[in-house]
């Protein structure tokens, strides 16, 4: 009797778990939609025509609805001016919203209501025509990868010393680095500007790269990993006549590929997203990185919402893809670092 009762309890318990979980899924999905909606809307708006957006079509699907007139060569958008009996006076408008033929008189029966889904991929092309996005992209990639190269070298060397060597002042240096990591960026913007100005580096690539080629967080990340490599392995290398330097590059680094990959993605993400620093340290349009270029573009053509959305999509997508590749380790290191931005 008792056993049966227990069984019943367990059964209902399982059922409860299932119900509770489905509740969790519903909640998570609803809020997940809210979290992701801005991205979806961004992509959908980037594919709409500006005319539809201006009409107040805020939907998630790029539907367009307009009166059209086919003159045999082109299908025009049409805005009615007035109706005169059987014929209508219209303005013929092209895709960008420009009135090409004003006050064109046509037969009313030739007007056709069009409602369809159309994706204006042309928006992306127009962004590249309007602003030198290719140049911005080049600058960003140049800065990101040169910085990455520097970060990996300085971090590997320093992390090796911190993890595997004993020397006077090591602990002091370690705490010094930690305390420097806690200083937030807005604090050193003004003095860095003064310093870089003194070096004559304002409006140069150096200003965007050199101050960032040592990343304290990466040093710690690598140090943690280097510590896990067995000492026997390093001793064996030493017995074989491997110098410390050689040991680092031939034994330790090859064993640290995953953590180096994580650090690299991390570094590229922060270079790619960096905004305030390049905004202040450069004002030459030729030196604009993506974020700065995007910012100027948004100020110059704030009414071109579809183009702005296309540019934003273009800025976001490569990084999301990069992030997807390394998401697990990246999330873990973001959360362990205790640092943001």
């Amino acid at each position: 009797m008792f056993i049966i009762k227990m069984k019943g309890k367990i059964m209902s318990g399982n059922k409860k778990t299932f119900l509770k979980n489905s509740f969790s899924y519903i909640i998570l999905t609803i809020f997940g939609i809210f979290m992701i909606a801005p991205f979806v809307w961004m992509i959908s708006t980037s594919l709409k025509s500006q005319l539809e957006v201006n009409k107040g079509h805020t939907g998630f699907i790029p539907i367009e609805q307009y009166l059209s007139y086919d003159d045999g060569k082109t299908v025009w958008r049409v805005s009615k001016v007035m109706i005169k009996g059987d014929s209508t006076v219209v303005n013929l408008i092209d895709d960008t919203g420009k009135i090409v033929y004003p006050f064109h008189t046509i037969n009313s029966t030739q007007l056709k209501e069009i409602k369809r889904i159309k994706l204006h991929f042309l928006n992306f092309k127009r962004v590249f025509e309007k602003v030198p996005f290719a140049r911005y992209l080049f600058n960003t990639l140049l800065v990101a990868f040169t910085t990455l190269f520097g970060v990996l070298i300085t971090s590997a060397l320093a992390a090796y010393a911190f993890a595997r060597m004993r020397f006077k002042g090591r602990d002091f240096l370690f705490y010094f680095f930690i305390s420097m990591m806690m200083v937030p960026q807005p604090i050193y913007l003004v003095p860095s500007y003064v310093l870089l100005n003194y070096f004559g580096w304002i409006n140069t690539y150096q200003a965007l790269i050199i101050p960032w080629i040592a990343n304290i967080f990466t040093i710690f990340l690598l140090r943690q990993h280097f510590k896990t490599i067995p000492q026997d392995l390093i001793d064996a290398a030493a017995i074989d006549g491997c110098s410390r330097f050689k040991t680092l590059f031939q034994i330790i680094l090859p064993l640290s590929k995953p953590v180096i990959a994580t650090a690299s993605v991390f570094s590229v993400i922060s270079s790619w997203n960096s905004f305030m620093w390049p905004l202040i340290m450069t004002n030459d349009p030729e030196l604009r990185v993506l974020q700065v270029g995007l910012s100027y573009f948004s100020q110059e053509s704030s009414s071109q919402t579809t183009l702005l959305m296309a540019a934003s999509t273009f800025t976001i997508i490569p990084l999301v893809i990069l992030f997807l590749f390394a998401q697990k380790s990246i999330m873990a290191s973001y959360t362990s670092s205790g640092m943001k931005e």
Binding site: M35, A37, P38, G56, T154, A214, S298, S312, I316
Partner: protein
């Protein structure tokens, strides 16, 4: 001799960069704030003049108030949402990493692009925000152009007139709050999730046997046990919220920093003074140091408390 020096050779490149571009700037910023200093270089010694002017600078206090509003709204909202999501995420197994990913993506994407997207979302005529409100029959709001406080706006509906001085953050600033919370949820959800996973399952089993329902379990068990994480999230979010800049710069500034200056936050004010038309690097440096003291204080409190907290 070489053996003794050799470790230093390994750390030297990193040390040079850190000293040159982290340590020296901090020292330099103190010096700059005590001298007249513009783009051409150092001027005459002015002592504490900048700091005295700061106490009398109305705009400075407004930007402090705006930053305070930002913190006071962003921090609790972030904590609530993150913990909420983490609790649900902790329950499920299937699609767990998928949901984690969805919540996390805003955090890794460019703040510039996101701010532009949100600016368009908050557009009065063509934006998604008003279209969404329209579903519930709420009249369109002016969002980023609205300088009235949110409490003023709220009570206007009931015919109660709340003066602007106690009207709370402007609706424009509130829009910035929404964006900031939205972006920081993912990061903190992951932090909370790690915290929740460290609570032994047996505690919940014991609570279940004692007849505590889920809600009681949450308030009597989860919440106290997760409090170290909450403290960490509280402090970290406060520290980062003090540094908000890009959202404000892209969504509401320049030239004025929001409708009637109601979204001007402290870092924006530093930027405006140092790198705007004024180009007063000395004054900007003084403001930055005030911010530094605040953040340093918060960091020290956090480190001190972290040591006292036992898991």
């Amino acid at each position: 001799m070489f053996k003794k020096l050799s470790p230093w050779i390994y750390v030297l490149p990193a040390v040079i960069i850190v000293v040159l571009f982290r340590f020296i700037p901090i020292i330099l910023s103190f010096i700059i704030s005590f001298f007249e200093w513009d783009i051409t270089g150092i001027g005459k010694f002015i002592g504490f003049e900048n700091y005295v002017s700061l106490t009398l600078d109305k705009e400075f206090w407004i930007s402090m108030l705006n930053t305070f509003y930002l913190v006071i709204f962003v921090v609790p909202l972030t904590i609530c949402f993150s913990l909420f999501f983490a609790v649900f995420l902790n329950h499920i197994k299937l699609f767990k990493s998928f949901f984690r990913l969805i919540y996390f993506i805003p955090f890794v994407t460019s703040l510039v692009a996101l701010s532009i997207v949100w600016k368009i979302i908050f557009n009065e005529q063509t934006g998604l925000a008003n279209a969404f409100l329209d579903i519930f029959g709420i009249i369109p709001l002016r969002w980023l152009n609205e300088s009235k406080g949110i409490f003023t706006l709220l009570f206007e509906n009931f015919g109660i007139n709340v003066p602007n001085s106690i009207g709370g953050p402007s609706l424009a600033l509130f829009a910035i709050i929404i964006v900031t919370v939205w972006r920081s949820i993912g990061y903190n959800t992951i932090i909370y999730l790690a915290g929740l996973q460290s609570i032994p399952e047996s505690y919940y089993e014991a609570a279940e046997i004692d007849g505590a329902n889920k809600i009681k379990q949450f308030f009597k068990l989860t919440l106290p046990l997760i409090s170290p994480t909450t403290f960490y999230v509280l402090m970290m979010t406060t520290i980062t919220t003090f540094q908000v800049f890009s959202q404000v710069y892209l969504m509401t500034g320049p030239p004025i920093g929001g409708p009637a200056g109601t979204t001007k936050v402290i870092v924006y004010y530093i930027f405006e003074n140092g790198f705007g038309e004024a180009q007063n690097l000395s004054y900007a440096s003084a403001i930055a140091l005030v911010l530094f003291i605040i953040i340093l204080g918060l960091t020290l409190i956090q480190k001190r408390m972290e040591k006292n907290v036992h898991y």
